[in-house]
């Protein structure tokens, strides 16, 4: 577990530096057990920072989400660093962003958090719907300990752990300038049994499954916006000429949208699971991303978000790539 006083002290040092503009971390949410992103600009603000298993957000998103206004004539752009707290999975987003030359390594200052797993907030909410909070979650051994309204509840880790953490192979950040705790050894493996189970069904069964899911989509684009890898200035979904995907919400456009979203992440998705977490209508988006992830690994022996100097999958090739499907 990360020691909060050490975290705040590190943050205080970092935000006091002249070459750091802001620090992105976590703070307590407004109700229940939630935690939320915190933006710190001043050493006086570091005491709100926390880290616990409720800190689910992938803060790497904010590096590329910034909306830059044109710099007024006569003014210099603010080139100071952005400091960001990342868990193991989140750090892979930074690696992949840098592999794609989204920004230079020295633009960011990475505070790494070795992570033992975060909760699935929906599962917490379902068990304790009436907690106004603030409630605190911590991990003790193989149990999550929830403290709220003067009560203390212990729940087996397995029951509240987020699904992505059950398959996590990178609990310790792959890139960091400061590491807040001892490295955590990988504690899980991934066998893609969920993807394989779906692959083995008939075509009509698969379509029936996805048709139901896609028909629920309201196209709020939260899956795109939360994604650290979705940072195109001119997104295919917003273009009008050509309008690749229409704005109308029906099964045809929703399907095209979900194909485009997942496919644009082929060889890029780092499995932080944020898209599926935020989806208000609970479309299992990770089952789409993971299919592509699995194929990319099997066909091209490629894993995104682990090497900063890896060439992007779809703008590289090997002469002996598989071509059994070609007539």
């Amino acid at each position: 577990m990360v020691d909060v006083s050490k975290l705040r002290e590190t943050a205080r040092e970092i935000i006091s530096r002249e070459d750091v503009r802001e620090l992105i971390g976590y703070r307590a949410g407004t109700y229940g057990f939630r935690a939320r992103p915190a933006f710190v600009y001043d050493p006086g603000e570091v005491d709100q920072l926390i880290f616990n298993p409720a800190c689910v957000n992938n803060l790497a998103t904010y590096i590329t989400l910034e909306e830059k206004l044109p710099v007024p004539r006569g003014q210099e752009p603010d080139l100071r660093k952005v400091a960001v707290m990342v868990k193991g999975c989140d750090s892979r987003a930074l690696v992949q962003q840098m592999a794609e030359n989204a920004y230079e390594r020295d633009r960011i200052l990475v505070i790494g958090i070795p992570c033992t797993g975060v909760v699935d907030m929906d599962k917490v909410q379902a068990r304790f719907p009436d907690v106004l909070g603030p409630g605190e979650i911590s991990l003790e051994g193989d149990k999550f300990v929830l403290i709220f309204d003067g009560r203390r509840e212990e729940i087996p880790k397995e029951e509240l752990l987020a699904d992505k953490c059950k398959r996590c192979r990178f609990p310790t950040p792959l890139v960091y300038d400061v590491l807040l705790d001892e490295e955590v050894a990988p504690f899980a493996t991934d066998d893609y049994s969920d993807v394989e189970a779906l692959e083995s069904r008939s075509q009509d069964e698969k379509w029936a499954y996805w048709e139901e899911k896609f028909s629920r989509c309201i196209r709020c684009y939260s899956c795109r916006n939360v994604c650290p890898m979705c940072y195109c200035n001119d997104c295919i979904l917003d273009r009008l000429r050509p309008q690749w995907i229409r704005r109308s919400v029906d099964i045809s456009e929703n399907t095209a949208f979900h194909i485009a979203r997942a496919y644009h992440l082929a060889g890029r998705c780092i499995q932080c699971g944020e898209c599926q977490r935020v989806c208000p209508v609970e479309i299992p988006l990770m089952e789409l991303n993971r299919k592509l992830y699995k194929d990319v690994e099997e066909l091209y022996d490629f894993e995104p978000g682990v090497k900063v100097d890896a060439p992007p999958l779809l703008s590289s090739y090997r002469p002996d790539d598989p071509e059994d499907f070609i007539l």
């Binding site: 992103p37 009436d130 939260s222 109308s248």
Partner: protein, 339 residues
């Protein structure tokens, strides 16, 4: 119009009876509750808290054809909403019904929107009370609403445990009572009094609140306040808070053409999207999420009450519960009050 009693065993038969209309009820799809047109009463899922997507989409569809055209032919074929027929939304919550009565003011204001208003006219709203608040983030009682609220509803079903108290509230409600007469019994005399004490009890279970007094007047003075940057720092710019809001009603127009046949359709838009109010020149008067968040709050709590005398928020709490980064409208309003 006297209250009647509807026993819970008869709800299935009532839904069967109502399926001669276009019948829309909450439906469970995986773990998500949505409003959908149902063919079989068994699909209805009435033991729910509140739906993820509000039933506003029934009267204000997310995508709606206004007219069709053929390339090269100046004739436009307008949508006839009448063809959709009489619609019944069964089992919606009082906050969502109240939201419709708020949005009505906009669509019947300087321009009377024929599509929306016709659909409203054809739709009967049969609401169900919230005995338990559906969410920790409910705050309807701060905004003149109530878990037993009647605004916008044609019939209110008060959940009395083993039966409903059937309260017709409007002419459409009275017609509904006639339609369902054979399933209704006379209410027992104590029920009405018991309902009002239950209402007080249900109101007491709502834990979150805001005092909206003075916010509408104060918001314009905070136009350049640094609070907008701070409250929108974490915003992702997605459409969850607006698309899932029962009172948000912004829309966009699109022409879609398919091999010479086309339609003009309107579809929901969100003020949190980066293309919202983007000009053809590339200029955007709301260039960042700061301005867009300010617009969302100001529209609900300042522009709308100034024009229509009612806050365009019903306190359903969806935007709080479903926000991926826990941006909390109550916290923003508290900061507005304190600023």
């Amino acid at each position: 119009m006297a209250a009647k009693k509807l026993s819970k065993e008869k709800v299935g038969e009532v839904l069967q009876e109502l399926s001669k209309f276009r019948l829309i009820t909450p439906v469970k799809s995986d773990d998500v509750v949505l409003f959908r047109e149902i063919a079989d009463p068994k699909e209805a899922f009435l033991e729910y808290g509140n739906s993820t997507v509000p039933p506003k989409k029934v009267v204000f569809p997310q995508t709606e054809t206004l007219f069709r055209f053929t390339i090269g032919n100046p004739e436009l074929r307008e949508k006839n909403v009448e063809e959709e027929g009489t619609t019944v939304i069964f089992g919606l919550r009082p906050c969502d019904a109240r939201a419709m009565s708020i949005v009505d003011k906009l669509f019947s204001w300087d321009y009377e929107d024929p599509y929306y208003l016709k659909r409203r006219e054809l739709t009967t709203l049969v609401g169900m009370t919230c005995v338990q608040p559906p969410s920790i983030n409910c705050f309807c009682t701060s905004l003149q609403g109530s878990p037993f609220g009647k605004d916008g509803l044609d019939v209110l079903l008060v959940d009395m445990g083993d039966h409903f108290l059937f309260q017709p509230l409007t002419e459409k409600g009275a017609r509904m009572e006639e339609t369902l007469a054979s399933y209704l019994e006379d209410a027992s005399p104590g029920d009405v009094e018991r309902a009002s004490s239950m209402e007080e009890e249900a109101k007491g279970k709502i834990v979150r609140s805001i005092d909206p007094q003075g916010i509408a007047e104060k918001l314009p003075s905070l136009w350049e306040d640094p609070l907008w940057k701070r409250v929108s720092d974490a915003c992702l710019g997605c459409g969850i808070c607006t698309f899932l809001c029962p009172t948000c009603h912004c829309f966009d127009m699109q022409d879609e053409v398919e091999r010479g046949e086309g339609r003009r359709a309107r579809m929901w838009d969100s003020c949190m999207f980066c293309e919202y109010t983007l000009h053809a020149s590339g200029h955007n008067p709301r260039p960042t999420r700061k301005e867009r968040t300010r617009n969302r709050i100001s529209h609900k709590y300042s522009y709308y009450p100034k024009r229509f005398d009612v806050i365009a928020c019903v306190g359903c709490g969806r935007c709080i519960s479903l926000c991926p980064v826990n941006i909390d409208i109550l916290e923003i309003l508290e900061q507005v009050v304190e600023a």
